[in-house]
Amino acid sequence: MLASATSLRAWSCILGVAALAIAGECLIAAAMRSLGDLDIIRAESGLPGAIRAVLSSPLFLIGALCMALNFFALLFTLSIVDLSLAAPATASLTYIGNAVAAKLFLHENVDRRRWLAVIFVCVGVVLLAK
């Protein structure tokens, strides 16, 4: 009973970390997509201009907030779940979630080779943690 309560807590932490990561990465990717090529912005208005452009994007700010929460959630999770479970579990869930979210929300062309890559990365990450 105690063990299942602990693992429930561990898995809800892991799910929370993955969900925050997916939200953060998709929001940031959407922000960068709407800003356009940073190399061009930097060539036109220098590094300060590029930083200003990024920081003034609301999508980026919400995404960065999610990533910051993700960071602290991960620190918290690492203190109650072993790294050997937390790292591959959050990484795999984040990869799958990102691919689905990129397709649904960012309308990226997730073709067969990219799905295959997602599956390979997930299995690979789990194997690496063995």
């Binding site: 990465e25 998709c26 940031i28 990717a29 960068m32 997509r33 800003l35 356009g36 090529d37 940073l38 190399d39 990024v54 990533m67 960071f71 602290f72 620190l75 918290f76 690492l78 203190s79 109650i80 790294l83 790292a87 990484a91 990869y95 990102n98 691919a99 990129a102 397709k103 960012l106 309308h107 990226e108 062309n109 997730v110 073709d111 080779r113 990219r114 295959l116 890559a117 997602v118 390979f120 990365v121 299995v123 690979g124 990450v125 789990v126 194997l127 690496l128 943690a129 063995k130």
Partner: protein, 146 residues
């Protein structure tokens, strides 16, 4: 189908691979020193920021964030993702050839899978071109209809 990555852009992707994995490793090392944090002692997280491993991990992760965002400004999220995964391979290979740790067969298999994943994605276009893509789909649809 556009796949034009300059050497400078490959360098950015290399930064994405290296900083994330090394930064995470430093963080986990630092948090192991800080000890367990529970919901009643969240102040310990603030204390953790001053651990040298955690602090240098954070510096590297800021570098990761900057290069990651640069990459996302000219490539798809699903294109950049395998690059971040390749970081795990870098850590595993570093531990094998630098720290002379033993890598099990499972880990070699994991390395092989992630390398394949990077290969799949790198072989395709780096950015979804939305208007063109619809055009391509229309052509394909008309082909299928015939």
């Amino acid at each position: 189908m556009k796949h034009t990555l300059t050497p400078q852009r490959y360098l950015i992707l290399l930064c994405v691979m290296l900083t994330a994995s090394v930064g995470d490793t430093l963080l986990s090392r630092g948090m192991a020193q800080v000890g367990p944090v529970d919901i009643h002692h969240l102040g310990l997280l603030w204390h953790a920021l001053f651990n040298p491993f955690v602090a240098s991990g954070i510096v590297l992760l800021i570098g990761f964030f900057a290069s990651y965002m640069t990459a996302l400004s000219w490539a798809d999220l699903t294109f950049v993702m395998p690059a971040t995964a390749f970081g795990y391979v870098v850590v595993a290979l570093l531990s094998r050839f630098w720290l002379h740790e033993h890598l099990s067969l499972y880990r070699w298999a994991g390395i092989l899978l992630i390398v394949c994943a990077v290969g799949f994605v790198a072989g395709g276009p780096s950015l979804t071109e939305h208007p063109d893509q619809h055009h391509d789909l229309d052509i394909m649809d008309s082909g299928a209809g015939r």
